[in-house]
Every structure is written in structure tokens, then in C-alpha cells.
């Protein structure tokens, strides 16, 4: 029975923080394995094959980035990065290297659990097979390429639709500016996020009641955007 629990690897060198995360995860039905540095983590992953890794970017021995790169070279295991508030750039680098999402220290337990649930769900379902995304009044119909707010159709341009689709397929998970730009304008597009901002402003004016208090597409300042889940 115990083996059916999802296994989470926590890579964290602060003992108290590790202990608090372990307690919370175990209490919520996860099996927890622990590593206190990058080398140990890289040793453990192939033998334990955890379902998800929580990785602190402030590790003492090696760069958390190396762990991400190394894991991403052979595994699509979800990686949740933990960073301090002023490590904004590291966060973005980690995400662009292939980490799936992040939580910022200090974080609450509900936030941590929500991120883990989202990642585990994304890892299980192949999102391209879903027909539509629904969150509150918002419906994104991937096949018919239409977006509705309530029963009103929102008329999005081609690029706006691509942005909304990318966010909806990754609902609940942050997408960096660069990831979105690559998704919409292709991998070789200049990473000028100005155009993305303008598109986003237009999308918000079409989808949100009050663009300054958005319900569906949330800004992660300095990082990117996140579609709220239903």
C-alpha cells in the first residue's frame, strides 16, 4: 500500500525547513526521501525514481542549476524550485532550464501542496489530448480554436489565442516570458517581452472584467504568467 503514495524528493540543506516540509508532505499522503546537497540528490534520483523533486536553489555545494540540467538530460520528472525573494533571476534561469514551477520563501503549506498537486497532475495527463480548458467562466476550446467568457465569445487574434492556449495547457503552472515567446513566435524569436506585454494587456481587456484585478491570468512579476486553475 505504501508504495502507491507519490514519492517526493526534497533537496534542502536547512534542517528546520526540511523538517517542516517533510512533516507537511507526510501528513498529506506523500512518501518523502531527502537529500541535503546536490551530489546526494543526483545519486538518489536514479535509484529511487521519485515522482517529483523539490529543489532549493540555495544549496551550499553545487549549483541547483546543475542538478536541473543533469536531471533534465534523461528525465521529465517534475521539478519544483524553492528560492528566496531576491533570487528572481535564478528562478527564471531555473525555469528556462527545465524546472516546472517555483515557490518563493517564505511560503505557506497550502501553496506548496497546490504546486505539488498541479505538477503531479500535469505529469500524469497528456494535456494535448484535452479538448477544452475551463476555469470559472472562462472556456478555451482547443479544437475549435475559440474562447468564451460565460456564453460570450472573446474574439482573440491568432497570437493572443496562442498565448491563452499555452497558458491553459499549462494551467496552474508558471510560464516564463521566454517560454511564452518561444511558444507563440517560435524558438528563434527575439526575447523582447514588450510585445508579449502588449498582447497580454489586450487579452486581459477581452477576458477579464477588471484587467487590473485579473481572475484568470495572473502575473508573476519578473518571471512570467500563470493561468489560474478552475
Amino acid at each position: 500500500m505504501m508504495d502507491n503514495k507519490p514519492c517526493v524528493l526534497i533537496v534542502e540543506d536547512e534542517h528546520n525547513i526540511l523538517s517542516f516540509m517533510r512533516t507537511v508532505l507526510q501528513a498529506n499522503g506523500y512518501r518523502v526521501i531527502e537529500a541535503s546537497d546536490a551530489a546526494q540528490a543526483l545519486n538518489m534520483i536514479p535509484s529511487h525514481l521519485p515522482d517529483l523533486m523539490i529543489l532549493d536553489l540555495g544549496l551550499p555545494d553545487a549549483d541547483g542549476m546543475d542538478v536541473i540540467k543533469s536531471v533534465r538530460s534523461w528525465s521529465r520528472m517534475p521539478i519544483l524550485v524553492v528560492s528566496a525573494r531576491d533570487q528572481e533571476r535564478d528562478k527564471v534561469t531555473a525555469l528556462d532550464l527545465g524546472a516546472d514551477d517555483y515557490v518563493t520563501k517564505p511560503f505557506g503549506t497550502s501553496e506548496l501542496l497546490a504546486r505539488i498537486r498541479t505538477e503531479l497532475r500535469h505529469a500524469q495527463t497528456i494535456s494535448s489530448q484535452e479538448e477544452a480548458f475551463v476555469s470559472g467562466d472562462l472556456t478555451v476550446d482547443f479544437f475549435r480554436r475559440r474562447v468564451f467568457v460565460g456564453d460570450q465569445e472573446a474574439h482573440l487574434t491568432q497570437n493572443e489565442f496562442r498565448i491563452v492556449t499555452a497558458l491553459a495547457r499549462n494551467a496552474g503552472r508558471v510560464m516564463t516570458y521566454d517560454q511564452l515567446i518561444a511558444e507563440v513566435w517560435g524558438p528563434n524569436a527575439l526575447s523582447d517581452n514588450q510585445i508579449l506585454r502588449v498582447n497580454m494587456a489586450n487579452i486581459r481587456r477581452k477576458l477579464e472584467k477588471n484587467p487590473a484585478a485579473p481572475r484568470y491570468i495572473i502575473t508573476e512579476i519578473g518571471v512570467g504568467y500563470r493561468m489560474n486553475e478552475g
Binding site: R197, M200, A201, R205, N210, P211, A212, I218, I221
Partner: protein, 359 residues
Amino acid sequence: MVRVMRVNNMKQHTAVSDALIFLLTMAAAVGASLPLKLVRDGGVYMPMIFLAAVLFIARFTSGYIYGAASAVGGILWISYMFRQPYYEFDFLYGDLVMFACMLAVALQTSRMTQQLREQEGAYAEAERERVRGNLLRAVSHDLRTPLTSILGATSAILENGDALTSERRTELIRGVYEDSEWLIRMVENLLLITKVEGAAQIVKRSEAVEEVVAEAVAKFQKHYPDSVIEVSAPEDLLMVPMDALLIEQVLFNLLENAVLHGRAKRIELNVLRSDGEAVLEVRDDGRGLQKADFPHLFDGYMGRVERASSDDSRNMGIGLSVCLSIIQAHGGRMEAKNVRPSGALFRFTLPMEEADDGQ
């Protein structure tokens, strides 16, 4: 890079204005001297005019060059126009004495000007030190209280765990939770101050104001779920160069002030555009600001007196002084006032052009 360029610009700027002061003053002195040509023995009054010009130039230009140059220019002009033989340079012993006097005045005045400037700099530095000291005192004081209560609560739980009822234990733990939350926000603010102090470290990027506002409000409502905030922003997308995390913190602090200090029920957050700058205002319907608070509103002293009796006002002063430092580092302005029928209004501006920065 941008900073270095600005410093150079400023140097050029003072060089240009120094030359201008020199030329205009000399022209004025020459102009004033011409009528004396018509007066008999007018030449006698000449040195007075040029002495005044030398004094003025030495006082309002930097360095010794312009003062000395004006003394030389003055003596040449006097010898050329007002000494026989007229219209040629011919120096008498008296001219040399006069020249020595003018030069002495020029050099002494330049030196005094220099000293004055240095003193002003030292005074400003001392003032900054004083503000920093106040802040440090205020912070240490503010940190001690929640830490004491955390220590007390946790040791109570550790030592009497079994004897406590579960409600009692939950209450203690909730206290620890709230105090830690508060401490974290305080520390974030302090980190921001150190970041802002060296203005060079502020990295501004063009950001959509509505996104920053939305993020600040969302974060605030996570901490204060009962608060009612109405946001309005212009229809056009407003892009402003800023450090978005810092501005987000400013908005968070202002909103928190409105709730904790102003006891506001309803808060309005308005984004406006006025020429060349974005204007953001936080208006609440709370009890407003005390008249006595105004002089210390932004310097870390705010709420210090009341704090002894009611702890809801803690953090107010530091929060506001962080706000002010951040806005100033962006080249913006910040103001506070009371509004009718009740409540406070905090308003700050952010220049939309990078060039307006800091000036």
C-alpha cells in the same frame, strides 16, 4: 552605465553654467563701467565695480580659474579704457597693487566657496547617518517584541506541552505564526532599504503598471482576505521603467497601512496618467492621519509614541520610509494627506522616461 553617463553630464552641466556665469558677470561689469567713461575721473570708481564682479564670480563658480581670470580681465580692461594713455595696455605700479588685491579676493572667495560646499556635503552625510540610525533603533525595537512573544509561546509549548489544552496550544501557535509573518515582512522591507540605499543597484525594466498593481493587490488579499480594494487603471496600457518588486512592496506597505493604521474598511487604488509620469494613489476611508504624525510620516518615527499602548501601529513608520526611499530612487515624488469625509490618501509618481530619473 547609465549612471556614469549621468555623472558626466552633470560635470559638463556645471562647466557650462560656470562659463556662463563668468561671461555674463564680466559683460555686466563692462557694461556698468562704460557710462563712467563720460564722468570726469570716472576711472577712480572702476576698481570697485570689478572687485564686485570678481567676488561674485569666485563665489558662484567652482574651482579657482574663473575667479583668477576675472581679476586678470578686470585689470586689463581698466588699464585699456581708463588709464592714460587710453586704448593701450600700460601698467602702473598702482595697477599691480589693484591686481594683487583682486586676485587675493578671488582666491580667498573661491576657497571659502569650496569649503562651504564640503561642509554642505558633510552635513548631508551626517543627516543620512542620523536617519539611518533612527531607523536602526526603530527596527531593533520593533523586532524585539514579536521575537519575545515567539520565544515565550514556543517555550511554553515545549515545556508544558501536555498540560496545555489543545485550544490554548492552537492559540499560542497562531500567535507565533502571526508574529513570524510580520517579522518576515519587516525583514523584506529592511532588505529593500539596503537595496535602495545604493541607487546604482536598482535595475529598472519597463513594466506594465496594471500588472504590478494586480500582483500587489493579490498578494495583499492573501494576507488580509477581508479587505475590500477597488482598483482602477487607465484603458491604455501604461508601461513604466521600474524595479517591479520594489514598487509592489510600496503598494503593499501603503495598503497594509490603510488597514492596520487607518482601520480602513474600503480602499481605492487608482492608477492615473499625467504628463510624463504615472500617478498611483491609495485612498482609504479609515480614520486618517494624525496632525502630529505629519512631520515624521516618512522617517521611521511614525507611530512610535502610540506603539507602547497599541501594537497595531507597529511597522507603520518603517513601511513608509521604505516607500519613500524606493520612490525617490525611481525619481518620483510621494505625498500624503487626509481626505474628506474621512481617510488618508497616499500618492506617488513614477517618471515614464528613463531620462527623468533622479532629477
